[in-house]
């Protein structure tokens, strides 16, 4: 029924099509694998970054809590008490840098006595000693009050001095963690920008030949199935020659042109 050439061309076209499709399927599979690999890698990047961010966040939180502990009520009360004691001693001339360089502290009693008084009577001396003692106690009390006020405020170890320092320290530690978080996030954005490997299919240069063979072959098959000549019928049509009346004489266009419009236009023409 069918001519072998039609069948052969159809088969050739089919083989080419199948080959093309198999190649495309292979490429598609490779692409799917690449996308899967990319997804896994991106997942790992994301998890790693989440871990890093969490570690750094905890570091910042730890610094914040440490800073908070240092300025908590109990801690401040303790520091204030210690500073008050230190400052009180210092203001009374005890400790480093409390007296003029190279001089020893002089007691109030030694400093108080006026010249000529050292030869006074016993009652006078006792009275002087008693009053010096009272004055000393009074001065000490006032210095103690000054130390107390200073310890709450701007003395060397006072709360007004140390609290901002502790907060600055905690803030610096938090800044460091945030700085690292920012940097890590920047690197992660670069990792995120990685794209999957692209597998693209490029048709064979022979694809057109196979398509033509398929087209020709199937036309021939159809022709043959209708009882025609198969590929011959198809080919004759493709090349412009009539297959309806093959015995008809060829068209003579020159005659047609010279006979004019009144002549039979169909004369000498094959149908």
């Amino acid at each position: 029924m069918c001519d072998p050439l039609s069948l052969g061309l159809t088969a050739l076209g089919a083989v080419g099509s199948v080959g093309s499709s198999m190649a495309q399927a292979k490429v598609a599979k490779k692409q799917a694998n690449e996308v899967n690999t990319w997804t896994q890698q991106q997942k790992k990047f994301r998890q790693d970054e989440q871990g890093r961010q969490e570690d750094l966040r905890q570091g910042a939180e730890q610094a914040q809590q440490q800073g908070l502990e240092q300025i908590a009520g109990d801690a401040q009360a303790k520091r204030q008490g210690e500073e008050e004691a230190r400052l009180s001693d210092y203001l009374q001339g005890q400790g480093e840098a409390s007296n003029v360089s190279g001089t020893a502290p002089v007691s109030m009693a030694d400093k108080a006595m006026l010249s000529g008084q050292d030869t006074g009577e016993k009652d006078f001396k006792n009275d002087l000693a008693k009053k010096i003692s009272e004055a000393s106690a009074d001065a000490k009390q006032r210095i103690g009050a000054l130390a107390r006020v200073g310890s709450y405020g701007g003395s060397y170890g006072g709360l007004g001095t140390t609290n901002p320092l502790f907060q600055a320290e905690a803030g610096s530690a938090i800044d460091r963690q945030n700085e690292f978080r920012r940097g890590s996030l920047g690197a992660y954005n670069v990792e995120r920008a990685i794209t999957p490997v692209q597998e693209t299919y490029e048709p064979s240069p022979m694809a057109g030949v196979f398509d033509a063979a398929m087209s020709l072959g199937t036309s021939g098959v159809g022709n043959a199935m209708a009882g025609g000549g198969g590929i011959a019928g198809a080919l004759s049509k493709k090349f412009g020659s009539s297959t309806l009346f093959p015995a008809a004489p060829a068209v003579k266009f020159a005659n047609y042109a010279t006979k004019g419009a009144t002549s039979n236009a169909w004369q000498g023409l094959r149908f």
């Binding site: 050439l5 083989v15 060397y156 001095t161 920047g186 490997v197 199937t218 022709n223 590929i231």
Partner: protein, 357 residues
């Protein structure tokens, strides 16, 4: 390629470049963090000084190694100390060459229908498998078969297992090996709490001392002048050795004490201000460090580099083309069929013939 297979084009090279860029960005960030850490340490050392380390003897008793220890692993908390596996390892027994003999009329050995199994270590007695006595008994277990009724087998050249004496020791920095249970001592380096260099208490005390040295003599001079004036006035009034003189004297002295305390308090407060200024300067130095290590610059550069590497979104090549081609083929066949049928209806139409056959 063959039969219209075509070829695939991959962007692996481009993606590899992106990966390299990302890895470089991650490494740069790690390096940047290291530089920040070391920069902060330098700033800290510059402002607060370096810790003064001391050395002290510490005793220990080597009690054994943690699970999973490998030879050469460092001992936790003891710098310079490592664990080491020493001694001869245990060896497994090796099988000698068997010699099979017949006995009691029965073959023994691989060729005689009686089977033998076991490791066959020299010097070990073989055993007859339970219920297998007789002509086709089977020797199982370890060792040399020596059953008279079933034949004998002897081994030569095997070696027995050895226990070995392998064990863990701890090796000190000087190379000395310590066995389990052995005690010793080593020098531990520790932070004494002191600081060397930097802006320390000595720095602040010096500042404070300067203030005291400047103002305190003025107080002393004023006090001396006041005392002289008081002495003169009391003497002129004939009250130098009176109760009133004592009152005035002690009052003057108290004022002096309070004036001195005020000088010290001012010095202390000024030193506190200095301390705050130093802290602010330290913060400036830290900010400068962060400014020189701006991560946005590095990250933006890397991201821009990746963006420049042309990339596309993933696309899966459609698999349905084969059906499209088949449809075209089917359409062509239908077209050919219809065309031929149509032509056959035309009077005078002559069928074309096949070009082949």
């Amino acid at each position: 390629m063959c039969f219209g297979g075509g070829s695939d084009k991959s962007s692996k090279q481009m993606v590899q470049m992106q990966k390299d860029e990302a890895a470089a960005a991650r490494q740069k960030e790690a390096d940047r963090q290291d530089r920040i850490n070391s920069g902060l340490a330098r700033i800290s050392a510059a402002f607060e000084g370096s810790p003064v380390m001391g050395s002290r003897a510490k005793s220990y008793t080597f009690s054994g190694v943690p699970t999973g220890t490998t030879s050469g692993a460092a001992v936790s908390g003891m710098p310079g100390f490592t664990y080491k596996r020493v001694g001869t390892p245990a060896t497994a027994a090796t099988q000698g060459t068997p010699t099979y003999n017949t006995g009691g009329g029965h073959d023994f050995g691989p060729s005689g229908g009686t089977s033998y199994s076991g490791t066959g270590r020299a010097g070990d007695q073989g055993t007859v498998a339970s219920g297998n006595s007789g002509a086709h008994s089977s020797l199982t277990g370890t060792g040399r078969g020596s059953v008279s009724s079933n034949g004998t087998v002897s081994y030569s050249g095997g070696t027995p297992a050895t226990a070995g004496n392998q064990r863990w020791v701890m090796v000190g920095p000087d190379g000395k090996e310590y066995e389990v249970g052995q005690s010793g001592s080593w020098n531990e380096s520790y932070d004494t709490g002191g600081r060397s260099g930097g802006i320390n208490d000595a720095f602040y005390n010096k500042y404070k001392q300067g203030i005291v040295d400047y103002y305190m003599p003025q107080v002393g001079e004023k006090f001396k002048d006041a005392k002289d004036e008081l002495t003169f006035r009391l003497a002129r009034a004939g009250l130098l050795r009176s109760s009133m003189a004592n009152t005035e004297t002690t009052d003057l002295s108290k004022q002096n004490t309070l004036a001195e305390a005020k000088v010290r308090n001012d010095a202390d407060t000024a030193t506190a201000d200095l301390r705050s200024r130093v802290a602010a300067e330290k913060q400036k130095a830290v900010n400068q460090l962060y400014a020189t290590e701006d991560p946005d610059v590095a990250a933006n550069q890397a991201t821009a580099a990746i963006s420049n590497i042309t990339s596309e979104q993933p696309t899966n090549t459609p698999l349905g083309d084969i059906f499209s081609i088949a449809a075209i083929g089917g359409a062509n066949a239908l077209k050919g069929y219809s065309s031929e049928k149509f032509k056959q209806k035309i009077p005078g139409y002559q069928k074309s013939t096949s070009v082949v056959g």
